[in-house]
């Protein structure tokens, strides 16, 4: 595809359940970011992947959050035992090539924890 895609677009889950959010970056982009956007807040950095290097997980808010990037492409953000405060829009962005420092964002996944 031409852009970054994310699935699902919306997810409603019950408190305590696990959820998986998927990101397909632009083909060939080596860098991939996950952000969280809560109502009235800016984008909160969660995790960063660059090529085959170890990811920077310093932004993950708790050990309930984890992320993987398989084969340097698709990434999955997993939230275990969801809490109501996890409700937010989760955004994925990728960058690479000659415009390494220009991030291209996906449409986001709106997560609602009831």
């Amino acid at each position: 595809g031409a852009g970054v895609s994310q699935s699902p677009s919306n997810k409603v889950t019950e408190k305590g359940k696990d959820v998986e959010l998927r990101c397909d970056p632009i083909s060939g982009h080596t860098a991939l970011y996950w952000y969280r956007q809560s109502l009235g807040q800016g984008l909160e950095f969660l995790i960063y992947f660059q090529g085959n290097s170890a990811p920077d997980k310093s932004g993950l808010p708790s050990d309930r959050f984890s992320a993987e990037r398989t084969g340097g492409s698709v990434s999955t953000l997993t939230i275990q035992r969801t809490q109501q405060e996890d409700s937010a829009v989760y955004l994925c962005a990728s960058s690479g090539g000659l415009r390494l420092y220009e991030q291209y964002f996906g449409p986001g996944t709106r997560l609602t924890v009831t």
């Binding site: 800016g42 984008l43 960063y48 920077d56 420092y101 220009e102 964002f105």
Partner: protein, 113 residues
């Protein structure tokens, strides 16, 4: 810690009015600066960026921003807004020594037709 401040959270303008959205950052070294825009129902997209050189940068759709190092500011401007500029605007800073971006909380702009 680095931070980005956008002091205007909501702005309402009539068409043809001039626009200036403030962005201030706290970081003493060289930075890369960005403005992103999110139109209703659409993805965040890059509006313009500053890496080095001329501090007045021009972006898409008639927007421009001026980097004033002494004021730690990177304000976004447009001489005459249109209804289609209704969107949320985010300022972001990147430390060139890292890959991390710090975003402001955004400014919601509504342009009245």
């Amino acid at each position: 810690a680095q931070s980005v401040s956008q002091h205007n959270h909501h702005v309402i303008l009539s068409e043809a009015a001039s626009l200036e959205l403030g962005c201030n950052y706290s970081y003493g070294g060289t930075v890369n600066l960005f403005w992103y825009v999110q139109y209703p129902g659409q993805h965040l997209q890059l509006l313009l960026k500053y890496f080095s050189g001329d501090p007045l940068v021009k972006g898409i759709k008639g927007f421009e921003a001026e980097f004033i190092k002494s004021k730690f500011s990177f304000n976004l401007r447009k001489p005459s807004v249109q209804w289609s500029d209704t969107a949320e605007y985010f300022c972001a800073v990147r430390d060139p020594g890292t890959y991390k971006y710090i975003f402001g909380t955004g400014t919601r702009l509504k342009v009245l037709a």
